[in-house]
Symmetry: C2
Subunit: 165 residues, 2 copies
């Protein structure tokens, strides 16, 4: 009997380009962390931006559970790519990123350029970007799973979904 066919397609340039484009266009995403109190998964919405090198980041508050969770365990996952409000939500492409989170101290040499870059992407964040409890967290992609719609699943490396420099 033949093996069951794999639901994962071989990665091609269309899959790579779609991934880069989904990430570049995203203004927000779902963030999954481990709740430090229960060790269960916990998913919230965060705003998404990039630093000047194109690395994915967010500006998050110490008051939120996801922030203390990431301080205790930096392993996290982002879901990027939003469906339209009508039609079948599963035909819309989305990508799951497995990431490692790292906070950017205000004293870091990259902080000023990162702040300016983020404000250009999210001008309304100027209302709270300098509050003491808001900090940048950078997401280093470890691997990714692209779902471009039914029968269009791909497993990607970090390089596959990073913009070409």
């Amino acid at each position: 009997m033949p093996d069951k066919p794999s639901p994962i397609n071989p990665t091609d340039n269309d899959a790579r380009n779609l991934s880069v484009s989904l990430i570049a266009k995203a203004r927000f995403c779902a963030l999954a962390v481990l709740d430090p109190n229960t060790n269960h998964p916990h998913v919230t919405r965060i705003v998404l931006g990039t630093d000047p090198s194109g690395k994915v980041l967010s500006l998050i508050s110490d008051l939120a559970l996801h922030t203390s969770a990431l301080h205790q365990n930096p392993n996290c996952s982002l879901l990027i790519g939003e469906p339209k409000t009508t039609g079948d939500p599963l035909i819309h492409p989305r990508i799951t990123l497995q990431c490692n989170a790292r906070f950017l101290p205000r004293t870091h040499p990259d902080y000023i350029a990162t702040r300016a870059h983020y404000l250009a992407q999210h001008p309304k964040a100027k209302l709270y970007i300098d509050f003491a409890d808001f900090n940048f967290v950078l997401f280093t992609i470890q691997s990714a799973n692209l779902n471009g719609g039914f029968g269009k699943a791909y497993n990607l490396t970090a390089q596959d979904c990073s913009p070409k420099v």
Copy 2:
């Protein structure tokens, strides 16, 4: 010195009604599980429906990582409530549900009514609802966190966000 004020508001009927409404209107959500291979959080998109009693459920494929993850560890989290595609994504209300997942066998007495109810909500699912690898998973809510926008955070019980019968 006074204590730092809590970012969590006391639960009131507006918060309860908003939660029930967000859940009732949702056609899809983000699902966070523990990846059984890495023990890291993993977040994907799933379609959302309800069973005849109003309990939240989805129809998911055995080919997806979230399905094997839920078979191994039923603790999971759902993010419900989608922002519009323009404007600040954080002003849009959303709710995080902490859930316990339970699969519904096809031989279960509730299966036929659940299938009919789901098809009324998601008619296009008739294309795959009877495929052997698609199964219903029911989410029992343990607790919830409502975020109705800046300064509008609430911690809710399962009862707070369940429709009144």
